[in-house]
Amino acid sequence: MTALALRLRRSRHLPVVAAAACTLGLLLVGSLYSRNFLSADYLLLQLQIASFLGLVATGAMLVILLGGIDLSVPWLVTVGGVMSAAAAGWWGPAGEWLAIPFGILCGCLFGIVNGIGVAYLRVPSMIFTLGINAVAQGLIVVQTGGFAPQDRATPAMHLLATGRSLLGIPNPLLVWIVVGACTLFLLHRTTLGRAIYGVGNSERAAYLSGVDTRRVTLLCFAIAGACSAAAGVLLTGYSTKAYQAMGDAYQLPAIAAVVLGGTHILGGRGSYVGTVVGVILITLLQSILSVMQIPEMGRQVIYGAVIIAMLLMYGRGRRHSQ
């Protein structure tokens, strides 16, 4: 038993296994409250809802792997939603289909600015993305307040966010699966993926190995911006409209999910599978605490305590000079 625990502790899969075990544990606790927590309906719904967070966390993970952090999530999600809906309004029927790529593109542009600030101006990501978040908010307030763009989701967006086109699997889950598969491929099979891990472990060493580390950073932030915006598009489809501050609920859960999935907050280490498990864990935790009507106070305390407890379980960090 202890031997097994020790082996696990040494292997890189401990976070994934632990988070998965914790997820199962949560479901069991939930099922004491209501059988329905184990129903397929409920679980599929959770996966559908987790997809939104999953997309955001995908971008967040890329940035964290680099050793950065992206605090512009809330308003980039809103940018994605508002701009896609607006595009549908501007371009009429053609906008129907252009809307989705346009929204994502807008997020991507903001992501590129993030990347320029972090990679080329070398402003700490924590602070530059904070500034971009404020700018994005400002632009959206001006845009909705000044020009009253359309904010209704197109049918295509609605279908993408709530439909079930394949074997009863929610469409957003399909989207997440596709994005997740691409990310897995990106991280583990491409030169860019290697470069991301390299930069996260030691930007110096990666640079001296002939990697254009600034371009890698720029790309990751661009992808992160696009992921946030894509989540915004899906959310718009889900609630059939885009609205201000729709991304507020995603910033901290995304970071928490990535870290609970075993990605090192200082970068360079982590697997996407871990992030997937982390996202599901966080979504379930939020949902179960909500449905069990735990008062907000208790929810916050439990939420924080779970994060600390799990990280402590993954093993304490190494000491410095040894």
């Binding site: 491409t190 290697r194 891990y197 390299g198 472990n201 030691s202 060493a205 001296l208 360079g268």
Partner: protein, 507 residues
């Protein structure tokens, strides 16, 4: 005389490496005790144990007759042991005075008394013979040799009973070296026990009262200075004849002389740090860079590798001017430069990443199509490289941090060989590497050259330069001061030109 500090049967392993193996050591007050041994013999580990930085796996530390355990450097400091580490332990953002008094500042009402601290620092600097250093200067504004003096002053300010210096003179200017000699002799006469590590035999001869030789983590012998000849001492350190450590050099070939140089540097300058460097290397040649540490050798490599901004001068390859604005350009097929940086832990490797990922990292462009790594090609290429350099790694998927230092260094070299470079720059590639591995690396360098690469080797180890290189350019203050080749290439000539003996009076 009774020893003040005694280490009995101490052992220490780092992963697979036995840094110390039941080693013995004792030092007495009023004596300078030299620790001798090859790179990686375990000298630094031994003194780190004395200083409480590293905990021994087994063995006892006896201080003034009582068994002690130093679980934290503070305890050793409190016990009167002051240590100057090989990797300096200064805080670059803090001022000289802050550094000197970091653990035991003079206080008034619980707060640091800055005036008193300044006096302490001034006194310590004066004692170390470095009055020219301003106590309020931030350490990161000082040159390496000045920093080393600060480090010495810092150790002195702790009023130690035992003073340990680990290659404390490696980066000093000649004038400072003399000052430190005088200081150490004075301290010895005041009754301190001094442990002195150096690779320079002349320093040992001048200073030491006693010598202890270590080899591969074992204590080999302790004897009074002067009782053994240099040759005997070296024999003890290396365990065999030095001549066999290096592969034979090929005779100078007439044809090679006329071949166009693989690298032709003309008038390269950078800021105030590199001045008008001219140098040509032909394929098949190993050219050494000598001189004291920090005379611009590293910057020269960085300039060639495209890391520095604002480099003036011309670099030609096969007659065509080339310019690399970044390592990415420098490693391109057309240019084909590889740089093996001296600090493998921060610059050469991504420690938590697997051996395989590290090996293929610099050559991914060759192992991928359209940005997608072809796993089979990668596996084959890395396996071939592991065989070629006989890298000992239990599992290629393990983090490279779990390998021993020598094997890590091999990984750094291998990762660049994957790229089939035409010009290889190596910066102190054998630092902290055991004897056997070193020899393998020398053979490898020679083979690389024979295969047509041009090799530039910077080393702080004179024997290495003499044994390995066809020619050596001695750097001094950002210039090439002298070229040494053939019979001129002796330790004496290297040392003399490294210290720029004719210019010594200027300092």
């Amino acid at each position: 005389m009774d020893p003040v500090l005694e280490l009995v049967d101490v052992s220490k392993r780092y992963g697979g490496v036995r840094a110390l193996d039941r080693a013995q050591f004792a030092c007495a007050p009023g004596r300078i005790h030299a620790l001798l041994g090859e790179n990686g013999a375990g000298k630094s580990t031994l003194i780190k144990i004395m200083a409480g930085v590293v905990q021994p796996d087994e063995g006892r530390i006896v201080l003034e007759g009582t068994d002690r355990r130093f679980v934290h450097p503070q305890h050793a400091v409190a016990a009167g042991i002051a240590c100057i580490f090989q990797e300096l332990s200064l805080m670059p953002h803090l001022s000289v005075a802050d550094n000197i008094c970091i653990t035991n500042p003079p206080t008034r009402l619980g707060l640091i008394d800055r005036r008193a601290q300044r006096r302490v620092a001034e006194a310590a600097l004066a004692r170390a013979g470095a009055q020219d250093i301003h106590p309020l200067a931030p350490v990161d504004s000082l040159s390496l040799s000045r920093r080393q003096m600060v480090e010495i002053a810092k150790a002195l300010s702790r009023q130690p009973k035992i003073l340990i210096l680990d290659e404390a003179t490696s980066a000093l200017t000649a004038a400072d070296v003399q000052r430190v000699y005088g200081l150490l002799k004075r301290l010895r006469d005041e009754g301190l026990a001094i442990v002195y590590i150096s690779h320079r035999m002349n320093e040992i001869a001048e200073l030491a009262d006693e010598c202890s030789v270590f080899r591969n983590g074992r204590h080999v012998a302790t004897f009074a200075a002067g009782s053994q000849s240099d040759a005997q001492t070296v024999e003890m350190m290396i365990g065999r004849d030095i001549a066999h450590a290096f592969p034979p050099k090929p005779p100078p070939r007439a044809a090679a002389e006329t071949a166009p140089p693989a690298l032709d540097v003309r008038g390269l300058s950078w800021g105030g740090r590199l001045h008008d460097i001219r140098l040509a290397v032909r394929p098949g040649e190993i050219v050494g860079l000598g001189g004291l540490d920090g005379q611009g050798q590293r910057e020269f490599f960085l300039a060639l590798f495209g890391v520095l901004r604002g480099v003036a001068g011309e670099v030609r390859q096969g007659g065509d001017p080339v310019s690399a604005g970044s390592p990415r350009q420098a490693k391109r097929r057309g240019i084909g430069i590889a740089l093996v940086p001296e600090d493998r832990k921060t610059d050469g490797l991504m420690l938590p990443m697997s051996v395989r990922d590290n090996l293929s990292f610099a050559a991914l462009d060759r192992l991928s199509r359209a940005g997608v790594v072809i796993a089979s090609v990668e596996a084959e290429a890395t396996a071939a490289m592991v065989r070629r350099l006989s890298i000992k790694a239990p599992e290629l998927g393990d983090p490279v941090a779990t390998l021993s230092g020598g094997n890590q260094q091999k990984v750094v070299i291998a990762k660049w060989l994957m790229n089939a470079p035409r010009i290889v720059l190596l910066s102190d590639p054998t630092r902290g590497i055991d004897v056997g591995t070193k020899q393998e690396i020398y053979v490898l360098l020679r083979r690389l050259a024979e295969e047509g690469a041009a090799v530039l080797l910077y080393s702080t180890d004179y024997a290495e330069l003499i044994g390995c290189c066809d020619r050596v350019a001695v750097f001094f203050d950002g210039r090439i001061l002298r070229w040494l080749a053939g019979a001129e290439l002796t330790e004496h000539a290297l040392v003399a030109s490294a210290l720029n003996l004719t210019a010594e009076t200027l300092h």
